[in-house]
């Protein structure tokens, strides 16, 4: 019964991670990105709490959420020219209300790319036990989904905000994998500091974009 509930918990975490990383990859709206990142850390917390005591696993959740909020504050204060990519959106106007829509080909391309990465992850995740003995298959699956889709996201972007988000995703995947092999409060704390550091550096990199647009 206990194993079943642990298995369901891991499955829930993996499902949450799949949907949120897909949302991060496909959406260009910063609000969707921020919400997906917040939920993604929820998935990471679920996965990590299957191998770590809940109080230590909470470090991942709290650090992730703080990093996301820091990024949200930075990107939320930027002009809309930075949050969207005008050259790649279609503007629709109706009775004074304008909506920016993405060309469907862009989203489709990213989705298909994500499907290919997910197929690779499915074949790789089962072999992780050779490298990390005793790791639950679901845990390695969740970790590799984060790393794989994070890498795809990183490869498709050149903007500071998106780069930092994809790096946070990759590191979250690594942290899930590493949690399976090492339970150390100090490592957890240092990795949390790194997440926060990345978010802070991200705000520094995002701000010059503002001045550039305002000028």
């Amino acid at each position: 019964m206990e194993r079943l509930s642990e298995g369901s918990l891991i499955l829930a975490g993996v499902v949450l991670v799949v949907f949120t990383t897909l949302a991060l990859l496909i959406s260009r709206n910063w609000r969707v990105t921020i919400i997906a990142l917040l939920l993604q850390y929820g998935g990471v917390f679920i996965l990590v709490s299957s191998v770590w005591p809940t109080p230590i696993a909470l470090i991942k959740l709290v650090a992730g959420w703080i990093s996301t909020i820091v990024l949200a504050l930075a990107i939320g204060n930027t002009p809309s020219e930075i949050n969207t990519t005008p050259e790649s959106t279609v503007k629709l106007e109706f009775r004074g209300i304008s909506i920016h829509l993405q060309p469907i080909s862009r989203g489709l391309f990213r989705f298909l790319g994500a499907v290919m990465v997910l197929l690779v992850v499915l074949s790789v995740a089962t072999r992780v036990a050779d490298w990390v003995p005793g790791i639950a298959e679901g845990l390695s699956l969740g970790a590799f989904i984060l790393v794989g889709l994070g890498l795809l996201h990183l490869g498709l972007t050149a903007r500071p905000f998106r780069t930092i988000v994809s790096l946070l995703t990759i590191l979250a995947g690594f942290e899930v994998l590493y949690a399976a092999v090492e339970v150390s409060t100090l490592v957890a704390g240092l990795l949390a500091m790194m997440n926060l550091g990345l978010a802070l550096v991200g705000t520094y990199l995002i701000y010059p974009e503002i001045s550039e647009v305002e000028a």
Partner: protein, 477 residues
């Protein structure tokens, strides 16, 4: 009192303190240099394990600091490394004002030195990976120019962040060695992960793209500082891992991997440098050639353990590399002039924009070419004596490695000749004049003179670096 408190916490805290005075540029340059020189001098005096007597006061300096259950260990044998790190940092701080470095350069530079010392001191070593990532995070604001797009900086940050997990996992696998002997499979895994981690961190082929990008878009002086300090400490860190886990050295594939990666780095760097039309990027390719050469030397040194002189030469490369990069970066900053603060700074160092600048800034142009020649290993300059012995040693081991390294140098030399031609090219009626600032002239001439002195009298400087082989009792045997 303990050594980590002096060489890690003190510069770290002083770096944070100097943040509050960052707008008083002259003051913080003097203070930063002073602190770095004092720390280097103190390391030279080497009181670790002995103690210091100040009048009636007698302070014993122990070698260990325990923090949250982890140990930071700096013993007497590490003193030469500390001297090298803090003298290097003082050297770079010296030119900060003239190079118009970022106002955070001195405070962050002290922080970087402290973190990098911690990288070498922390036990177990897996924590070093996280400290290296912190160094990358501190470097990012320094390298990022608000007026630029920052793609190179983003790539630098991405690759440094991607390297960290590999080192952490290597640390986890190798930690098993304390409990019992590792299986061949575990050694293979650890070797692969370590190689990938260092490939990301050091920018080894094919993860080298951030090096020329960063050299093109960041302030050349800060970029050169980051290239120098990171490569120095990561090399020592890597040697430390190989020294401690000699099983990795016996993993025979590592020689071939190092030789292949080194050859590719040297050859690609040389080819790109030869056809390059941007002198900033040329510095990036010079760094690639240097990294390639270091990998080739390391591969050869590990392949023939009795040949400890090769390992010494790897450490001896540090001085000509640091001096060459520093002098070249200073010359690049001088040549770029006011364009350094403009959005299109990347364009300022293209051949079409520096054409004929040698007539208006002959000292900067001359020293730039001299530094490039030195990095290429031209006779009578700082890079030559070490390279000559390395080429001899490499040729005895593998003719292919020696040829790859030599080709890299030829490529860089060709690039330097093309730069020289472009710099002096111009209408014949253009008069020759010296228009560099007096401070720049002084530092550039001092740098050029040092390149010559080290090249002509290497015996005065290089033995101290070669002697550092004693740090590695197993590898250097």
């Amino acid at each position: 009192m303990n050594a980590p408190l002096i060489w890690i916490l003190t510069p770290g805290i002083l770096g944070i303190t100097l943040l509050f005075f960052r707008h008083r540029r002259r003051l913080i340059v003097l203070m930063g240099m002073g602190v770095a020189l004092i720390l280097a001098g103190f390391a030279w005096y080497n009181p670790i394990g002995r103690g210091v007597t100040l009048g009636p006061l007698s302070i014993e300096i122990t070698d260990t600091l325990t923090f949250l259950g982890r140990r930071f260990l700096i013993d007497a044998a590490d003193a030469p490394t500390l001297v090298m790190i803090y003298l290097g940092v003082a050297f770079w701080f010296g030119g900060a004002n003239i190079a118009r470095a970022h106002s955070l350069f001195i405070p962050a530079g002290l922080g970087i030195a402290a973190l990098l010392t911690a990288v070498l001191a922390v036990t177990p070593f897996l924590y070093a990976a996280i400290l290296i990532e912190m160094v990358a995070l501190v470097c990012t604001p320094l390298l990022f120019r608000p007026t630029g797009r920052g793609r190179g900086v983003l790539r630098f940050l991405s690759f440094q962040s991607l390297g960290m997990p590999f080192i952490l996992f290597t640390g986890w696998i190798l930690a098993g060695a304390d409990l019992g002997p590792l299986s061949p499979q575990q050694i293979t895994h650890a070797g692969l992960l370590l190689a990938l981690g260092f490939a990301f961190l050091l920018g080894i082929f094919p993860f080298h793209t951030w090096i020329p990008m960063l050299a093109e878009e960041a302030n050349p002086y800060i970029a050169a500082f980051v290239f120098f300090v990171l490569s120095l400490v990561l090399s020592l860190f890597g040697l430390g891992i190989l020294e401690r886990f000699s099983g990795l050295v016996s993993y025979t594939g590592i020689f071939t991997v190092l030789r292949l990666a080194g050859s590719l780095m040297a050859i690609t760097g040389g080819i790109w440098a030869a056809f390059q039309r941007h002198v900033g990027r040329m510095m990036g390719y010079a760094v690639m050639i240097e990294t390639g050469l270091s990998l080739l030397v390391l591969g050869a040194a590990l392949e023939s353990p009795g040949n400890e002189s090769l390992l010494g030469l790897l450490l001896a490369l540090v001085l000509p590399r640091g001096l060459g990069l520093g002098v070249m970066a200073l010359a690049l900053v001088t040549l770029s002039g006011e364009a350094l603060d403009e959005p299109n700074f990347k364009e300022a160092l293209r051949f079409r924009n520096i054409q004929g600048k040698g007539r208006r800034m002959p000292i900067a142009a001359g020293i730039l070419v001299l530094a490039l020649f030195s990095l290429a290993g031209f006779p009578m300059l700082a890079g030559f004596p070490v390279r000559l012995v390395i080429w001899e040693g490499l040729a005895a081991n593998s003719l292919l490695s020696a040829s790859a390294s030599f080709l890299g140098s030829i490529g860089l030399f060709s690039g330097a000749l093309r730069a020289l031609t472009v710099l002096v090219m111009g209408p014949s009626e253009d008069p020759w004049q010296i228009s560099e600032a007096p401070g720049s002239i002084g530092l550039l001439l001092l740098g050029g003179f040092s390149l010559l002195v080290i090249g002509i009298f290497p015996q005065w400087f290089l033995p101290a670096f070669v002697d550092m082989t004693n740090l590695f009792t197993i590898l250097g045997r």
